[in-house]
């Protein structure tokens, strides 16, 4: 049997599978046969090394059923478990929703705090040059003492804004890293469940 006859026969026998699955299987065997031929073997010899097309099709269909059963069994619950889940849903569902609400509120509060820190920094940072410039202007006029006081306040605001900037940056970075870590852990949690 030559390669094309083998593939046509295999395609016919795998007609119960999806078009995508059939296409991928045919590609796989086509490549396999070509690799055997590359070793110096004739096409018919390569096809016979692969095996009988009816046995191969039968094994593919069997493996395909096993894979589907494996997926189905992962989702199966016993009847008793389903009854318990349904009867207990007012309790566990309410608890789960409350837990999510508490975690979410804490998280929202944390982010609100971080977000509100930045306007504080901005206002202090803006006030510092205003204070210094205003102080200089006043000190050349009649209100000299007020001018010096304003300059002093402006200068101290410069220092305060530098401290505030570092604090805001550290707090924001820490919260972003915390968010990323929690997100990764949740993703791993769901990823492990899928692998299991």
């Amino acid at each position: 049997m030559i390669k094309q006859e083998f593939l046509n026969e295999l395609k016919k026998r795998l007609s119960s599978l999806s078009k995508k699955d059939v296409f991928e299987h045919l590609n796989f065997y086509n490549e396999m046969i070509d690799d055997i031929i590359e070793e110096g073997v004739s096409e018919s010899e390569a096809v016979s090394r692969i095996g009988r097309v009816d046995e191969i099709a039968s094994q593919i269909l069997s493996e395909s059923r096993d894979t589907k059963n494996e997926c189905a069994s992962l989702k199966k619950y016993s009847a008793w478990e389903i009854v318990l889940l349904v009867l207990g849903s007012p309790v566990w569902a309410a608890l789960v929703i409350s837990a999510f609400a508490v975690v979410f509120s804490l998280y929202a509060a944390l982010w609100s705090l971080i977000v509100s820190l930045w306007p504080v920094f901005i206002s202090v940072a803006v006030c510092s040059p205003v204070g210094i410039i205003g102080g200089i202007v006043y000190s050349f006029g009649e209100l000299r003492v007020t001018g010096f006081a304003l300059m002093g306040i402006g200068l101290s605001f410069v220092g305060l804004s530098i401290l505030l900037f570092d604090a805001c940056k550290a707090a924001t970075r820490g919260t972003v890293i915390l968010t990323a870590n929690v997100g990764q852990k949740i993703k791993k949690c769901f990823g492990k469940k899928r692998e299991g």
Binding site: F28, G51, I56, T67
Partner: protein, 106 residues
């Protein structure tokens, strides 16, 4: 050999075959055949499953005027091999115990 045991071993064998360099279907079978028997359709299923669990990735490259799929192991695949090695150290120590007990009873 027990079917479930063989299935688990075949998964790791395929990963081991692509551990040091990317490989393709026929070469994987040739590399594994001296140690454990595996048909082409079984290999196909294993490769699909390992890809689904992100233990390997697939790329298509041109080879002598035709396309060939190459399989590349991922971090998850390497971890699977390490887990297997750790588990089998335990199995080997139990096996040695069983053999020892057999020898004593004989």
């Amino acid at each position: 050999m027990d079917i479930q045991l063989k299935r688990g071993l075949l998964d790791v064998c395929v990963l081991a075959a692509i551990k040091n360099e990317d490989s393709y279907g026929y070469k994987i079978i040739k590399d594994i055949q001296p140690y454990i028997e595996m048909s082409e359709s079984t290999l196909y299923t294993i490769l699909k499953r390992l890809e689904l669990y992100k233990m390997l990735t697939v790329r298509t490259s041109e080879h002598r005027g035709r396309l060939r799929k190459y399989y590349h192991i991922t971090e998850a695949g390497l971890r699977k091999i390490e887990d297997f090695k750790n588990e089998w150290r335990e199995v080997m120590s139990i096996y040695k115990f069983v053999i020892k007990e057999d020898t004593v009873n004989d």
